[in-house]
């Protein structure tokens, strides 16, 4: 089950898409602006030339003996020449009556003597026309001479075409560069997030130090609340651990006192009835302290399993060390712990937990076997797994019983009379499973006794 509710997408993707959308919009706006500006400039320059052409014609207009005389200068039309062979049309009118030129050319009307411009249709073409009027005096009467010059707009369209192509290229280029920057920005933003995530997830479960990471200001509240939560979590863990340690101390120290006194008294007392009751006392103390110890161990093992920290564990030396630790206890019953086939094996796990699991099994073997026998330990490697088997010469398991013994507080029928909590194999099983391992309980094929095998995947 995912812990995330319906996802709200990826920040990186969202940021990148938003940046891309704004880049596209900006590219279009850029294109429109450049295009319009170019068109305006183009139009203005054509207008200026047209106005100059019209003005030069008007300049050459004179009244000679009551007649309007126009000597159209050469440059009036040559200045309109261009590579596109735009055609030029003109009309000269006196007080609204056409004197020369195309009489159907539409004029650009407007007030005053300033040049007026218009875009008109003429014989299937679109022309830009300028109309300018000059007031002359003929025999003391005012005469209005109006000059209209029109020009097709092929050259301008061509220039506009070129500029708009350039504007498109510019827009696309702008978009591509912005897109690259957007992707980069998305990545950088996501990176600081994933750096933080990595620095949190890289740490082991027992590492409850505050997160120290270089993060952007916007992420600082997240880091702050993460650290506050880590502090609360580690506080809770510490309190649980302290509680377990304190509980162990409170329970076991007085038990130790009573037991020590009882044992000392037993050495001094001669009356058999008193001795019997002292023995009963010691048995009861052992039983309750064993139960208390295993309960607290079990709580602690569960806590450690929940925050399992994996390290390379040398199973070979760990097993040897354990055998050394328990040798004095085995010796007290004149038992030998024999390390037989001991392969080298390295597994990933919590060494203390694995040793505790093996310890529970080995302690059982010591407890339930008769004195003067041996316990055999083998460490073998097969199919990429390490198998530690501990064989004793005790009564073994009853048929069908083995699988039930990993349950809490379950004890075998052969365990009657021996002090135990019914948690040892539960702990061993829990530890094995936490390490992707297994516990297998069988009876020895040769001779009496139980064989408990813990297996773990190799590193």
């Amino acid at each position: 089950m995912s812990i995330f509710r319906a996802g709200t997408g990826s920040i990186r993707r969202r940021l990148t898409l938003q940046l891309l959308a704004s880049a596209a919009l900006l590219a279009v706006v850029l294109f429109v602006i450049v295009f319009n500006f170019a068109r305006q400039i183009g139009a203005e320059s054509q207008d200026r030339v047209l106005a100059a052409s019209a003005a030069s014609i008007l300049e050459a207009t004179a009244v000679q003996s009551g007649e309007i005389v126009i000597d159209i200068p050469y440059f009036a039309f040559s200045m309109l020449d261009n590579a596109n062979d735009d055609r030029v049309f003109y009309q000269i009118a006196q007080d609204g009556e056409v004197l020369t030129g195309y009489d159907d050319l539409q004029t650009a009307r407007g007030p005053g003597s300033a040049p007026n411009f218009a875009t008109v249709a003429f014989r299937g073409e679109v022309l830009r026309v300028v109309t300018q009027t000059r007031r002359l005096s003929s025999d003391g009467r005012p005469v209005n001479v109006t000059v209209t010059v029109g020009q097709t707009r092929d050259a301008q369209a061509e220039v506009l075409n070129r500029i708009s192509r350039m504007a498109v290229a510019l827009g696309i280029g702008f978009f591509v560069v912005s897109a690259l920057l957007a992707i980069l920005a998305g990545r950088v933003t996501a990176e600081s997030l994933s750096r933080l995530a990595a620095s949190v997830s890289r740490r082991g479960p027992e590492d409850l130090r505050p997160v120290v990471a270089d993060v952007p200001a916007e992420m600082r509240p997240l880091v702050r609340s993460l650290n506050a939560m880590i502090a609360r979590l580690s506080g809770a863990f510490n309190r649980t651990e302290d509680f377990i340690a304190e509980a162990a101390h409170r329970v076991r120290t007085p038990l130790a006192t009573v037991r020590a006194h009882a044992e000392n008294t037993l050495r001094r007392v001669d009356r058999e009835e008193n001795r019997d009751s002292l023995r009963e006392m010691i048995r009861a103390i052992d039983e309750s302290s064993r139960a208390a110890g295993q309960l607290l161990d079990h709580a602690m093992v569960s806590l450690r399993v929940d925050q399992l920290e994996l390290h390379p564990v040398d199973l070979h030396s760990l097993t040897r060390e354990l055998a050394d630790k328990l040798a004095p206890v085995a010796e007290m019953r004149d038992m030998d712990i024999r390390l037989n086939r001991m392969a080298g094996a390295e597994v990933m796990g919590d060494a203390i937990l694995i040793q505790n699991a093996l310890r529970n099994v080995l302690e059982n073997a010591i407890k339930y076997s008769p004195a003067d026998t041996a316990i055999d330990i083998d460490l073998q490697v097969r199919d990429h797994r390490a198998y530690v088997s501990i064989r004793d010469q005790g009564p073994g398991f009853r048929p069908g019983e083995a699988s039930t013994l990993t349950g809490r507080f379950t004890r075998g029928e052969n365990a009657a009379g021996t002090i135990g909590s019914g948690l040892g194999l539960t702990i061993a099983d829990e530890v094995a499973r936490a390490h992707n391992g297994q516990i297998e309980m069988t009876n020895n094929t040769e001779g009496p006794g139980a064989c408990v095998t813990l297996s773990f995947p190799l590193r």
Binding site: A245, A256, A260, H261, E263, R304, M332, L353, N356
Partner: protein, 221 residues
């Protein structure tokens, strides 16, 4: 042997002191780390028994301090915790062994013996009676020119006899010294071990005599 016991619980300390004195050891007692420090600075001990939770600090810091000061006196940690509950194990800090509370005195003894054996190899004070010498640390018994290694129960049994030569010791007491309290044993089980010891002591100057109805006694020259 000279022991230093560092334990804040006075009743428990009293019981341990009682027991160690019964076994003939000299024990100094410190109720806190401060006292323990002043003891270790003036006296050399064969073994230190160290509690972890003490009123003026953690026993493990004492342990670290001893080790960093170059002392290699064997230290056995007495702890109400277990290994799984300690983030930093006492063994990692240089303890020679640890024993969880409550403990069986025989187990404490066995662990002390194992630690001392690892440490020095043999004891300096063998117990001798006539041509018999017992090295309790190495667990060897010398009779004349022959040396045998004793099994643990044989060793503990002969120690009981050697500790009080000439005294009658009841079978019941021997059972309690040799077997754990949850073992169902009859007093006759003792006879097996007495029989083995007698075999080892056959050519010696001492003998384990049966006192009918009362128990056994070590007859010494």
């Amino acid at each position: 042997m000279r022991f230093l016991l560092v334990e804040d619980n006075q009743q428990l300390a009293a019981a341990i002191l009682d027991r160690l004195s019964l076994d003939g050891h000299v024990v100094d007692y410190a109720g806190d780390l401060d006292t323990a420090d002043s003891f270790t600075s003036t006296t050399d001990y064969d073994l230190i028994l160290l509690d972890i939770m003490l009123p003026d600090g953690d026993g493990r810091s004492f342990l670290e301090q001893q080790r960093s000061a170059g002392s290699n006196t064997p230290i056995i940690v007495l702890t109400a915790r277990s290994e799984v509950s300690d983030r930093v194990g006492a063994l990692d800090l240089g303890a020679d062994d640890y024993i969880p509370k409550p403990f069986d005195f025989s187990e404490l003894e066995a662990r002390c013996r194992a630690v001392l054996r690892r440490h020095s190899g043999t004891s300096t004070n063998d117990k001798r009676f006539g041509n018999v010498a017992l090295d309790a640390l190495a667990g060897t018994l010398c009779v004349g020119d022959t040396t045998v290694t004793l099994r643990n129960r044989e060793l503990r049994l002969i120690e009981v006899f050697f500790a009080s030569p000439g005294q009658i010791i009841s079978k019941s007491k021997l059972v309690d010294r040799l077997f754990s309290y949850d073992e169902e044993v009859s007093e006759n089980a003792i006879e097996v071990y007495v029989g083995r010891l007698r075999k080892h002591l056959a050519t010696s100057d001492v003998a384990i005599e049966t006192v009918r109805g009362l128990g056994y006694r070590l007859a010494v020259p």
